[in-house]
C-alpha cells in the first residue's frame, strides 16, 4: 500500500484498523518532506521531532479514537499561532516569534488527533496571490515549478498536492485557500465567516479572514471542517451553529439542486480553457440531476475595489502592532522611540505589505475616509444583497476560481493592480461572508490544473461539500497527482528570483528538523 496515495480519511481508517501505525504515517510524510519540500519551498518550519513524539502518544489511544482524522499527519499555514513553535507569517518582522499560546483551531485539531508536521510557507502576512512575497522565498507549483502555486496559502496547497502530509489548514481573506487550491489541483473550502474561530490567526483583514482546510477531496474537507468549526467564546465574531455533521451528511445526491452560473463571471478576461472546464463541470453536475441556470450578477465590477479598500484599511491597523516593542524583530540601530518604530517597520515588512499598509492608511485618513472606506462598506452591502438575490433563485453558484492558469514565477509582483484584479472571483465571497469551495475540474493544454468555485449561502457548507463530492464521484481530476520528478526538477529553478531580492542579504532562513523549542 502506497501511503501517500491515500486520502486523509482513508489513512485515518487504516490507522484505526491497525494497518498503519501513526508513526509510520508521520515518518513517511517527513521522509517526503525531506526529499521534496526544499525544492517546492512549501514549509517554513518542519517540526519532525515533535511530530514523532506525538505519533507515539497518539498510537496509545488509537483504539478509543473517535475522530476519523485520528493520527493523520497534516500541516498549518504559518499565520496560525502554535505555542512553542515559531510562527512567522513569512515576515522578517516577526523574527523568531514563538507564541506563548496556540490558536483555537490548533487546540481543536489536537482534540481530533491531528499531528502537525510543521508550518507552511505563504505570502507575507497572507498578502498576495502567488506566495512569492514570503521572506523565505517563493513557493513553487508542484505541477510546474516555474509557476506560482497561488496564494496566499501557496505552501499549504503545494504540500497537499505534492503529498507532503494528508491535509493542510490555511486561511482565506480574499481567496487565499481557494485560488492556490485551484492552481495546485486540490480541494479547499473557505467556510462561512464566523464558523471557525479566528483566535490565534494573525490578522490580515479581520472582516474577511477565515481559516479552512485544503485537502485532496471534498470528503476530507468535510472531515477537517467538522474538526475546525465551532463557536468560540474568545472570538466575538464567532457564530452559534450546528457543527460537526458535514461528513455524516455527505451523500453525493444533487438531484434537484439548483446551480446558478452568474453571467458576469463568464465574460471578458476569462481564459477560454478555464471557461470550458468550468462549464463542463456544470454539465457533470447536471448529469447527476442538478438543475443549472444562468443568472445575472451585476455587481462584479465593484468587488475588487471594495475588497481591497476594506482589506487594506484593516490591515494597516492590524499590522500597526508590529512595532518592535512587545515581540518580533527590532531594528538593530535606531535613534529615539519614533526612529525605532520607523526603522523596525521599514526593515521588517516587505514591499507588498508596505504597499497595502500605505493604501489602507490612505483610505482611512482624514479627508478620504468617507470617499473610500465608507463607500466600500456601502458597496459591500450592495454586493451582499446581490448574493441574497442570487440565492433566491438558486442553491449554489458555480464560477471559475481564477480567471487563468497560474502565472510564471516573478511575473506578478511588478503589477500589483493586475494581481488584485485576478482575485475577482474569490473576493466577493469574503465580502459577503459566504462559504466558497474550489475543486479541481480539469487541466489546461499545458497540463496545469483548473479549479471551479462553488459558492453557497451562509452556513451552506453542507450543500457545497455535497455538490463537490458528487462531482468527484464522477471525475478523477482530484486524484491526479503531479509527478515526483517534477517536484525534484523544481530544485533547478532558482529559488530566489531577482525580482524578489528586494532585501539584499536579508532573506529569512527556513528551519528544518526539530522546529522551535520543544
Amino acid at each position: 500500500m502506497e501511503l501517500m496515495e491515500l486520502t486523509a480519511l482513508e489513512l485515518g481508517t487504516a490507522i484505526k484498523k491497525g494497518r498503519v501505525s501513526v508513526k509510520e504515517a508521520a515518518q513517511a510524510a517527513l521522509d517526503r518532506i525531506a526529499a521534496q519540500s526544499s525544492a517546492l519551498n512549501a514549509f517554513i518550519t518542519v517540526t519532525g521531532e515533535r511530530a514523532l513524539d506525538r505519533a507515539d502518544k497518539l498510537q496509545a489511544g488509537v483504539k478509543d479514537a473517535e475522530s476519523p482524522l485520528y493520527g493523520v499527519p497534516m500541516a498549518l499555514k504559518d499565520n496560525i499561532c502554535t505555542r512553542g513553535v515559531r510562527t512567522t507569517c513569512a515576515s522578517k518582522i516577526l523574527g523568531e516569534f514563538t507564541p506563548p499560546y496556540s490558536a483555537a483551531v490548533v487546540d481543536k485539531l489536537a482534540g481530533a488527533g491531528a499531528i502537525s508536521l510543521g508550518k507552511l510557507n505563504m505570502d507575507e502576512f497572507a498578502m498576495g496571490s502567488t506566495s512569492e512575497t514570503s521572506c523565505f522565498g517563493p513557493v513553487k507549483n508542484p505541477w510546474d515549478p516555474e509557476r506560482v502555486p497561488g496564494g496566499s496559502s501557496g505552501g499549504a496547497a503545494a504540500a497537499v498536492a505534492a503529498g507532503l502530509g494528508w491535509y493542510a489548514v490555511g486561511s482565506d481573506t480574499g481567496g487565499s485557500i481557494r485560488q492556490p487550491a485551484a492552481f495546485c489541483g486540490v480541494t479547499g473550502i473557505k467556510p462561512t465567516y464566523g464558523t471557525v474561530s479566528r483566535y490565534g490567526l494573525i490578522a490580515y483583514a479581520s472582516s474577511f479572514d477565515q481559516i479552512g482546510p485544503i485537502c485532496r477531496d471534498a470528503a476530507d474537507c468535510a472531515a477537517v471542517l467538522d474538526a475546525l468549526q465551532g463557536k468560540d467564546p474568545r472570538d466575538g465574531t464567532s457564530l452559534e451553529g450546528q457543527y460537526g455533521r458535514l461528513l455524516d451528511r455527505l451523500t453525493g445526491d444533487v438531484r434537484g439542486l439548483k446551480i446558478g452560473l452568474p453571467a458576469d463571471c463568464y465574460g471578458d478576461g476569462l481564459d477560454p480553457e478555464v471557461r470550458a472546464a468550468v462549464l463542463a463541470a456544470a454539465d457533470t453536475l447536471k448529469s447527476r440531476g442538478a438543475q443549472v441556470t444562468e443568472l445575472p450578477f451585476p455587481v462584479m465590477e465593484y468587488v475588487v475595489p471594495a475588497y481591497y479598500i476594506i482589506a487594506a484599511a484593516q490591515a494597516s491597523s492590524n499590522l500597526s502592532r508590529f512595532d518592535g516593542v512587545k515581540y518580533g524583530r527590532r531594528a538593530d540601530e535606531y535613534g529615539g522611540l519614533d526612529d525605532l518604530y520607523r526603522k523596525t517597520r521599514t526593515q521588517g515588512f516587505g514591499p507588498e505589505v508596505k504597499r497595502r499598509i500605505l493604501l489602507g492608511t490612505f483610505v482611512l485618513s482624514a479627508g478620504y475616509y468617507d470617499a473610500y472606506y465608507i463607500k466600500a462598506l456601502q458597496a459591500r452591502a450592495v454586493i451582499k444583497s446581490g448574493f441574497d438575490r442570487a440565492f433566491e433563485q438558486c442553491d449554489l453558484l458555480l464560477t471559475p476560481t481564477a480567471p487563468a492558469a497560474p502565472p510564471r514565477l516573478g511575473t506578478s509582483l511588478d503589477n500589483p493592480l493586475q494581481m488584485y484584479l485576478g482575485d475577482v472571483y474569490t473576493v466577493s465571497v469574503n465580502l459577503a461572508g459566504l462559504p466558497g469551495l474550489s475543486m479541481p475540474c480539469g487541466f489546461d493544454s499545458q497540463g496545469l490544473p483548473i479549479g471551479a468555485q462553488l459558492i453557497g449561502p451562509h452556513f451552506g457548507e453542507e450543500m457545497l461539500l455535497n455538490a463537490a463530492h458528487a462531482f468527484q464521484l464522477d471525475t478523477d481530476f482530484h486524484r491526479q497527482r503531479p509527478k515526483d520528478s517534477i517536484c525534484r526538477d523544481a530544485q533547478r529553478v532558482p529559488a530566489r528570483l531577482e525580482t524578489l531580492d528586494h532585501r539584499p542579504g536579508a532573506q529569512c532562513a527556513p528551519q528544518r528538523e526539530g522546529g522551535g523549542p520543544a
Binding site: 494573525i202 472570538d235 466575538g236 484599511a313 491597523s317 500597526s320 516593542v325 512587545k326 482624514a366
Partner: protein, 476 residues
Amino acid sequence: MTWETVIGLETHVELATRTKIFCSCTTEFGSPPNTHCCPVCTGMPGALPVLNRRVLEFAVKAGLALNCSITRHSGFDRKNYFYPDLPKAYQISQLYLPIARNGRVDVRTQAGDKTIRIHELHMEEDAGKLAHDPATGLTRVDCNRCGVPLIEIVTQPDFRTAEEVTAYLEALKETLQYLGVSDCKMQEGSLRCDVNLSVRPAGSGELGTRTEMKNLGSFRAVARAIKYEAARQIQLIEGGGRVVQETRRWDEDRNASLPMRVKENAQDYRYFPEPDIPPIRLSEEYLDALRAAQPELAQAKRARYQREYGLPEYDCRMITSHRALARFFEALVELGVPPKQGANWIMGEVLGALSQRAMEPGDMKLTPPTLARLIALVGEGRLNRNTAVKVFEAVFDRDGDVDAYVRAHGLEQVNDDALVREACAEVLAVNPRSAADYRSGKEKAFGFLVGQVMRELKGRANPQRVNAILKELLMQ
C-alpha cells in the same frame, strides 16, 4: 476688559469591574509590572477582544444616572496611533456611536444652581504605564493597566469658574460611587480629568482658541490649573499675543501649565468601526431592568433622611458624602439604632477614625452590627459613652465581639450605687480641700472630684450616678 472663562471637561473613570474590558485579566491595582497581562491586553498577534458584560452594564448605569439618552444601537471603533503604552497601536474606543449622549448634571455653588450638559459618555480601554528609568535612560512599559475599562464623560463647554468644575467633579464622583461603577480614587488614577479652556471677552458669543490640560492629580489641582491657565491666556491676549491650540501638562510642583512636546503635524487617528467586536443593541427590557435596579443616589437619600428621620441637612450631607457611609448608617437604623444617635457616631467617631487612618469608608472593617451593639450598650446604661469610645477604638480596625471585649476588660458600667457611694466617700476623705472648695462655691472643684471617682472606678461608673451621689454626700 472683562474676560469670561469657558471650560469643558473630559473625565476618564476606571470602572470597578473584576476583569479588564476585553479579556479576563484582573483589574487589581498595584501589582508587580506585567503580571496582569495576556495575549489580548498586550496585543499579541491573533488575539481578539470580547466585551465584558459588566462594562456595558456599568456604562449604561452611569449614562442613566447622568440623565443621558442611551444609544440603542452602539458600537466600538479603533483609534490608531503609535505609542508604547498602547500595545495594539490602536485603542478600542467609541467615536461614531457612543453608548450615551445628551445628559446633564445639576451642580450647586456659592453662586447658585447650574446645569452642566453632558455631550457624551463612551466606553474605551485604558493604556499601560510608562516609567522613565534614569539609570538606563530607557522607558519601562508596564501593561497591567492596558485594557482596564474606562468610561469617558465629555461635557459641553458649560463651566465658567473653577468652583463649578469642582462642584461638578464632586457630584460626578458621588454619583458614580453610589452606582458602584467606580471607586473614583483620583490618587490611584481611577478618576482623571482633562480641562479644555478658553477665554473670551465677557458677552461674546464666540469661543476663543482653547488649550487642553492634562495630568491633573486632584480636585485641588484642577481648580489651581484652571485659575492659572485662564490668567495665562488673558495675560497673553492682553499683551497682544495669541493663544495656540495645544495640549499642556499641569505641573503641580511648579504650579504652572507647560506645553507638551507633540509632533507638529496634526494627529490623524483614522478611526474606523472595530471589525472584531459585533455591534451592541440594547433592548427596552434591558434598559428597564437597569433603570429598576438603579440605587438611590445621594441627593435622594439626603432628602429622605431629612424627611423620614428628621436629621439636619448638615448631618445628611455628611452621612451621604460616601456611599459606604450611607449604607452603614442605613444598616444601623435597620438594626434599631435611633437615627440621630447613629448619625452622631458616624459623623464623630467613624469619620474621625477614618481620617486619622487616611482610610476610605469602603475599606472599613468595622461592621454595622458591632457599632449597633456598642450604641445599644450605652443606651442600656451598661457602658458609659467614654468607655464606649475606647471600645470603639479597640474594635474599629478589625471588628469583633463588643460584649466579649467589654467582659474581658471588665469595662461594664458600675451601676451599683453602693459601690459608687463607697468610692465617693473615699475620694472625699482623701481630698478634704477640694470638698471644702466646692462647698465654698468653687464649681471647678466638683469636676476634679468626679474625675477622681471615675478614676477610682476605672472609668466604668455611670457619670449621672456619680454626679448625683457626690452632690448628695457633699451636701451632707
